[in-house]
Symmetry: C2
Subunit: 248 residues, 2 copies
């Protein structure tokens, strides 16, 4: 389940019937941050419960599902036009556990009735994004106390099935990297094969063979060779590449 | 949106409030059939409207999302234990068009009120399955007149965004084939590399290079070489393979 990431007004104004939103459907965002060979994930923290959670959202009745996910991403990071993709729908009955949300609402001075919409069963659509974490301005939602980057290798305990969500997002990203120009909003307009390889190695958390990486990337037909990078030593200059526009 | 594939009793008994089901959430199934180098898709037909649609389903309040999809697959085909995967959630507002469902309900003698749950906005989770179509026993649901296989290359007009769904399922299947043992319920327990290649060529609708196909399949570590196939001419006998159990 989910927290009130897209309700940016005061928590007391949360409509207990969920009016204006699609019932029983949430969005959870696995926002992965990358910068200088480091990988992080953006989490909300709830002081009164000691819980951490993925940023989440709900879909307004007059809103497209994907637009709601983009809105939630912008609300939590200030970023727009970011690569954001669905990766899985979490719809097991066993996810339904109203206790963390009840504790969070109580901590904010709300005593929810049993019929409060946030305490019901939610199916959640998982989305993942990959952003330059130095460019994001993390912003907690109405019910959380902090919104911060955490090292992927050292995550605090997460609410409900959010650890599974992080793992599944990573699996999807890693599988997609060999087919899509996943890094186009992380790398500069033009980049060397070495810079692209470093991005892949960080996300995969493993070293890659240089020549087979280059061969595989070139075989995808997503890169265009631009020019040699000027290093002062012409015979050592690496080529620069950019992602083909229509493949972004 | 969606039709009543999982309500197998008479259409008159459909509860107009949708009681017992998760509100506003549906499942659509792209069931791809394969046999002897042919690819087909299973469609429902509504005589009174001239419409065709993908088999669909709803999620019971006490049911997991994926279990509901498996139930709908079994109800329409009689098959169980089939590879069935989510591929995309269709959640645009523009999908909401109550007119086809209204026509279908009227054709079945139901005059739905404006508040009938089937006329509301639905977000639909798309699932795809790949089955041996000679083993399926197609079975229409309460509102449809026929459930039949159609050639993928020659589809009739489909309801709402169901054509997009078929295309997106195919794209997902084609991308997944190079990573997963997608065909394990289509091929015999042991098979030759040529048989596996024919399956891939049919789904991709293109000829593949024999040696690079073999090299790529072996590099995935999903196949185990079993023995040579006895053809009477030992030096020409192709090897037999099977999918590694833990990769299924």
């Amino acid at each position: 389940m989910t927290v009130l990431s897209d309700i940016t007004n005061s928590p007391g104004s949360v409509d207990p019937s969920g009016a204006g939103y699609l019932p029983g459907l949430a969005i959870d965002l696995v926002i992965l941050g990358f910068h200088h060979s480091q990988l992080k994930v953006l989490l909300l923290e709830y002081e009164n419960t000691g819980l951490f959670a993925l940023p989440a959202g709900f879909i307004q009745k007059k809103e497209d599902l994907n637009a709601a996910a983009h809105r939630a991403l912008t609300e939590r990071t200030g970023l727009q036009g970011i690569f954001l993709e669905q990766f899985y729908v979490f719809g097991d009955r066993s996810r339904h556990d109203p206790s963390p949300l009840k504790a969070i609402l109580k901590g904010k001075g709300i005593s929810p009735s049993k019929r409060h919409w946030l305490l019901g069963r939610f199916v959640s659509v998982g989305f993942y994004a990959l952003v330059d974490f130095t460019k994001a301005v993390p912003n907690p939602d109405a019910l959380s106390d902090r919104c911060e980057w955490h090292d992927l290798a050292n995550l605090p305990p997460l609410m409900l099935d959010h650890e599974t969500m992080v793992q599944k997002a990573l699996d999807t990203l890693r599988a997609a990297m060999d087919r899509k120009p996943i890094g186009f909003n992380l790398l500069p307009e033009t980049f060397t094969m070495g810079e692209l390889q470093t991005l892949h190695e960080t996300i995969l958390n493993q070293k890659l063979n240089r020549s087979s990486f280059q061969r595989r990337m070139l075989s995808l037909n997503i890169l265009e060779r631009v020019d040699k990078k000027w290093t002062g030593r012409a015979h050592k200059a690496p080529y620069l590449y950019r992602f083909l526009q229509d493949k972004k």
